[in-house]
């Protein structure tokens, strides 16, 4: 039988550093997509009971580093961290997408400026505080972006686009650093 080598989506591509800014691959974590069958009310209750996480409002997330729920669209969320209990599947289509996403962290002074070159949404702290989530375009790609700190963001893009993601963000990092002089 073939011996398959497990590789993370950005293996060999990251980390990248430019003038205090860094782009790193986040530690691999379980990622599950929850799409409620009939509204999110019952699913929210089940999620709270099973994992202690509230149902995220549009554009928001709940929980903390090791267990989070990110809003992913109407009646949908991404569960990060815990393996979901089977009972959740009674209320939603539950899909394991752990290997489907390139999941990277952009941090350092000027992280906002880097994303401002790629993303048509205001991601400054006033409009996009910690825990906020946006499903939007990153250059030509669909992405999900969440703020994790004053100068740090996590970005999710489809795994097949990992190389493009790293390229686009790295180029924007370089240009922000170059303009700083």
């Amino acid at each position: 039988m073939a011996e398959l080598i497990a590789k993370t989506p950005c293996a060999g591509l990251l980390p990248v550093r430019h003038g205090g800014l860094s782009l790193t691959e986040c530690a691999p974590t379980a990622i599950h997509h929850l799409a409620a069958y009939r509204g999110a009310a019952q699913l929210g209750v089940a999620l709270e009971k099973a994992h202690g996480l509230g149902w995220p409002a549009p554009g928001r997330s709940t929980g903390a580093a090791s267990a989070r729920a990110l809003w992913f669209g109407p009646d949908q969320a991404l569960l990060l961290g815990p393996m979901p209990v089977a009972a959740l599947a009674r209320h939603c289509a539950l899909t394991d997408q752990s290997d489907g996403w390139a999941h990277v962290c952009l941090s350092g002074p000027g992280a906002e400026e880097v994303l401002a070159r790629l993303v048509p949404v205001d991601l400054r702290a006033g409009a996009f505080p910690e825990g906020a989530v946006a499903r939007t375009a990153l250059f030509h790609m669909s992405a999900l972006i969440t703020r994790t700190g004053a100068e740090s963001f996590e970005i999710f893009a489809f795994r097949s686009m990992a190389r493009t993601l790293v390229h686009d963000v790295s180029e924007a990092m370089k240009s922000v650093v170059a303009q700083r002089g």
Partner: protein
């Protein structure tokens, strides 16, 4: 052009893709006369003024929207979830 998604707020045009007239939501009954089906499938208005279109928030929350806009002034007058529009129309039929 910017479109205000009921879920995501005001977003840039590049996040959306266009489908066509919102009359696509008003599908006739299966037994409706051929003329009605012909009108539904093939006949479209091309107004200089207010029009209603279906847009898809493709690079965002993946909602279908009914956008009411003015083709002369480019003003956007309303953005509603297509689901709500369709459900309301179904209620009105009853």
């Amino acid at each position: 052009m910017r479109i205000t998604c009921p879920y995501c707020g005001t977003r840039d045009l590049r996040e959306f893709s266009y489908r066509g007239a919102a009359s696509d939501l008003e599908r006739p009954d299966a037994e409706a006369p051929p003329e009605e089906w012909h009108a539904y499938l093939h006949l479209r208005d091309n107004p200089a003024g207010v029009t209603r279109d279906l847009w898809y928030h493709e690079m965002g929350c993946a909602s279908w929207l009914v956008v009411t806009r003015n083709t002369v002034t480019h003003e956007i007058l309303a953005c509603d979830l297509a689901r709500d529009v369709a459900l309301k129309a179904r209620e009105a039929k009853r």
